[in-house]
């Protein structure tokens, strides 16, 4: 029993460093005027050198606050509107834009660089949000499966209900996944909500053709889709991004000559997502926030995005890296839905989808 004296000493080994840690955490929070808080999602990425350049040129220290996924970022920002979490929000896309604008989250700012952006991306005429990048939701296929089985690629959404594509497709649950929602919206645009054959009829046919509905992109892409490198998945078609094939090449070591996967960008099979940034209402650093929006549109950042976030820059002049020019396909006619319409109907559509597909 006498040895038991060791306990307090051992416990103090935990407690002392802990208290130190907690104290440091409190002290480090001291803020200064030149700090700019960027509120963003967990996939925001940029080159260290490009961000350092911004900090050097402006004298602003950038602090990145992450809030989970894109939907969470918007929701949390709406909840904290009276006392915003930061100065600039990056990462609201056109499926959440209506919700964000309705909540009056942003201050209008028309950047001098807005002329460098293609007009199709300027969804808000008041410039409460500024478009920064875009990406296309498209089917990805496992190249070797289609070659070995001598199977034609589907050339329309309707093809996916044919017996030839039975048990081949993985989609994401639109209620929980952003590409899943984009794919649902695509089917709504294609088949409509009323008439003889609505999007719900289409989904019934998809289910009858044994599609696999996964909860999120990661599970769908890595665990179910057979095309990703080394995958144990069994299905050669998945809903993903048109920029996934270049990523497959870029992240392979050694890089293959031919991409192991491809994207299908035929007309009516692609939904376009645009990502925006905006200055949060209530910021006390509006000048810094404006400088940061300008920076997001500047050439160094626009050209940095493709390899960092696997999206396309909104500035058509921005040079694309080689994996993009070589392996990414750009659709002729991507589809986009009005973000107000999405916001109005999202809940009803999801409810109908759940009732048709899941029950």
């Amino acid at each position: 029993m006498s040895k038991a004296i060791h306990i307090p000493i051992s416990i103090s080994r935990i407690i002392v460093p802990t208290i130190c840690l907690l104290l440091t955490a409190v002290l480090v929070r001291a803020q200064d005027q030149t700090t700019l808080m960027l509120v963003t999602h967990d996939s925001f990425n940029a080159s260290e050198t490009v961000l350092a350049q911004f900090q050097e040129e402006t004298g602003i220290t950038l602090e990145i606050i992450r809030l989970g996924d894109a939907g969470t970022v918007v929701n949390q920002s709406i909840l904290s509107r009276e006392n915003p979490l930061g100065d600039v929000l990056f990462g609201v896309d056109n499926t959440f834009l209506g919700r964000a604008l309705d909540a009056d989250l942003f201050i209008s700012y028309e950047s001098p660089l807005i002329d460098t952006v293609a007009d199709e991306f300027k969804l808000d005429p008041e410039f409460r949000v500024t478009p920064i990048n875009y990406g296309d939701i498209a089917l990805n296929y496992d190249r070797s499966y289609f070659e070995e089985n001598d199977l034609e690629l589907p050339s329309s959404l309707q093809d996916l209900t044919l017996p030839a594509y039975r048990s081949l497709l993985v989609v994401q649950n639109p209620a929980t996944s952003s590409p899943g929602l984009a794919f649902l919206l695509l089917t709504i645009m294609q088949f409509g909500t009323d008439g003889d054959y609505t999007y719900l009829d289409y989904w019934q046919d998809l289910v009858a053709n044994d599609i696999y509905i996964s909860d999120d992109w990661t599970d769908a892409y890595y665990n179910q889709f057979s095309g990703s490198a080394g995958s144990l998945g069994t299905r050669p078609l998945v809903v993903s991004y048109a920029s996934s094939p270049p990523a497959e090449v870029y992240f392979a070591d050694p890089q293959p000559e031919v991409a192991p996967t491809g994207s299908i960008v035929a007309d009516g099979m692609v939904f376009r997502q645009i990502e925006f940034a905006g200055i949060l209402q209530g910021t006390d650093n509006i000048e810094g926030a404006k400088q940061f929006i300008d920076f997001l549109l500047s050439m160094p950042f626009q050209e940095d995005m493709p390899l960092q976030m696997f999206v396309f820059p909104v500035n058509p002049e921005a040079a694309l890296p080689e994996v993009f020019t070589q392996y990414a396909l750009l659709p002729q006619a991507p589809m986009m839905m009005d973000s107000g319409e999405i916001d109005e109907n999202r809940e009803a559509w999801l409810q109908e989808w759940v009732e048709t597909v899941i029950r």
Binding site: M1, A4, H6, I7, S10, R13, I14, I15, P17, T18, L21, A25, V26, R29, V39, D42, S43, N45, E63, I64, I65, R66, L67, G71, T72, N75, Q76, I78, L79, S80, N83, L85, N173, T176, I213, D215, D216, W217, T218, D219, Y222, N223, S228, A229, G230, L232, G233, T234, S240, S244, A247, E248, Y250, F251, A252, D253, Q308, F310, E347, L350
Partner: protein
Amino acid sequence: MGRNGHSLIAVAWRVLRLAPIAFLAVFFVYPVLTIFGISLAPEGQLDLSGFARLVTSDYYVNTLLFTIWQAAISTILTLGLALPSAYVFSRFQFRGKALFLSLATLPFVLPTIVVAAAFSALIGPRGYVNAFLVTTFGLDAPPIQLERTLLLILIVHVFYNYAVALRIITTYWMNQNPRIEQAARVLGAHGWRLWWYVHLPLLRPAITAAGVLVFIFCFTSFGVVLLLGGPRYATLEVEIFRQARDLFNLPVAAALSIVQIGLMFAMMWVYTRLQRRISSEIVAAEASAQRPKTQRDRITITVTLAFMAVMLFTPLVALALVSVTLGFDGISFQHYQQLGSNPRGSVLFVPPLSAVGNSVAFAASSTALSIILGVVSSYLLLRNNRWSRLLDAAFMLPLATSAVTLGFGFIVALDQPPLNLRQSALLIPVAHTLVAMPFVIRSILPALRAIPENLREAASVLGASPWRRWRWVELPLISRALLVGATYAFVISLGEFGASLFIARPDTPTLPIAIFRLLGQPGGSSYGQALALSTILLLVSAVAFILIERLRTPGARGEF
């Protein structure tokens, strides 16, 4: 220690015992009530249409029934499978016992998406087991088809919770006097009679404590149900996430949250009412475990360990195997090597060592905080009166509260000085402590209740001050239970449980966050690196468990 020392301790205790209540009030009750207020009365006017929505469709009723049903089955399965192992671990002394018990806790640390990957590698259609069976027996199709079945959900729930039940019951059992069992055997109790009339009644406090934790855990199951069960299955927790995160329908989310919290509170209330003070005969643990004597004993131990190895360790081994073979013909550590390099110069890049450092720092703070608060709370709960029962139920509620509810609550409630903590890294250990405290309390309380009152009285009569009495009589008797609580607190924090994903945080990426980031981008090497980092998470946890073991009362080494 003189009289002044006594009164000093008495004052210190009076202050200290308010700490857990204050902690719960500030970091749980206040944020949750604030978000409920905003959700249910956005314009200052109470609007209960969220509740009305719940009863208009039988969807929510069915969801609730499914939630209760799957949690009950998972709990019964977990307890049923853990009891025989608990017997072996509390009755026998064998080599590697402590290590085995520690490692059994490893599943708890893995994010669901990684567990899904591990199970898919093991028993998925193209997993190791099916591949082996197909080639060995020349089959046409993989024989094991568990994808999207309720069975798979249950298996993974057992995988996650097995060690919770095992460790709580084993710890308690080891302090029980083996003479009771010996006497029963002499009196002719064998087989099921021994279990039914002796073991189970004796172990009831530990079994129910473990059962309550496992039940709440499975009741609020989110990722397991969504990922492995598919969209067909939904628990209340899944529905809360869908309403709050995806639809931003706060009234319905709040109504569902209140139903969930209310149900858990009612269950805890009944549970604490049923808890009686058990004054069984406790002994120092050294006496109770013995080396196996007969061949039968050795076979029992081997079978138990083999079962646990298959149930708990094969998925982990499959995960580690994939991390060194994904994309290669043989074995390669390329994914591990790439973890340390940042060819794109990204700000998203997390050096593995700094992720380990952040994870361990958060986990150590959460563990220290939840041990201190958990021990104090357990003493508060020891008095069996109405207030302590109410408090007991209240301390469990953070575990029953959806991460998204808590995260939203933090955002709206902790935004003004002196509690302007929204962007502080401090909030992460606070959130983890809220979830970890129930585990600490449920581990300690049965042990504390089992200490007979006359033991305390004897110590006092012999002149021991309250401090010495606690230090030399009570602490040694609860130290192993404390260790179980500490291990779980550590694991919960290391596994980055839900809530912190909803907390605004400066860039202090932990291992799970780094894993999520890698899993969020396409490309074989990202996936390989995510699995490599998951394996590192397992290794870090294993090392931490072994170190925590060493903090234990040296006298009891090798027992636990």
